[in-house]
């Protein structure tokens, strides 16, 4: 399940969906990304998230397929919010269920690393100095490239 939406999401609901009716699941790993109130040394008051509807969902589906071909996974759920967000707001959810914890941990982190570097989302943040588009981070590229080894 891959969803891009403006509204907030509920971790418990997503977890219940990952867990349901499958007694061969031994591990569920979830990641939630939250909006921080600082970035590059400045206080951030709000965030606007834009995306390329259509391509986003395709890219995310492709990342999930890659993860499923690499690890033994039961289910994967991704939710990414767009629109206006405030500090401490939930931005992104990735949940993975698997028979074994190693597969669930690796796949969840893999999906986040490629979501960060490949999925067409853009953040514009409002600081006390005004608005600015967030720059891509070299460290995110490095995180994604680890998986090529």
């Amino acid at each position: 399940m891959i969803v891009v939406q403006e509204q907030d999401f509920d971790l418990q609901h997503e977890y219940a969906a990952l867990r349901q009716d499958c007694p061969s699941i031994g591990a569920i790993v979830t990641f939630v990304g939250l909006m921080r109130d600082f970035n590059d040394g400045d206080n951030v008051k709000s965030l606007f998230l834009e995306h390329y509807a259509g391509m986003t969902e395709n890219v995310l589906a492709d990342i999930v397929e890659k993860a499923k071909s690499r690890w033994n996974l039961q289910a994967v759920r991704i939710i990414h919010r767009v629109g206006n967000l405030l500090p401490s707001d939930q931005i992104v959810f990735v949940g993975v269920s698997s028979a074994h914890r190693g597969d669930a941990f690796s796949a969840c982190e893999f999906i986040m690393d490629f979501l960060k570097t490949q999925a067409p989302f853009w953040k514009r943040e409002q600081t006390e100095q005004g608005g600015r588009w967030v720059d891509a981070r070299r460290s995110d590229e490095d995180s994604a490239q680890r998986w090529e080894k």
Binding site: E50, H51, M55, N58, Q118, P120, W133, D135, A136
Partner: protein, 83 residues
Amino acid sequence: MLKLLFFARLREDLGTHEETLELPEGVTSVAALREFLCRRGDNWQTALHRPGLFVAVGQQVAGWETPLQGDEEVAFFPPVTGG
């Protein structure tokens, strides 16, 4: 018709998110399309030569040499920053 899309900083720099365009004479690749668009003015020239600019054709990341037939969706955007 080509469908052109511009996102994030590009959308702001160019003041447009979307346009449709008849494939201009002699434009057979993404690179040629960019050169055609850059002739529209300095803001186009600057925006379409920003470091790290991406282009997607048919919602797939593409290279500058990617050929164009004239009925594609072509999107220009800066490096992604979601998550």
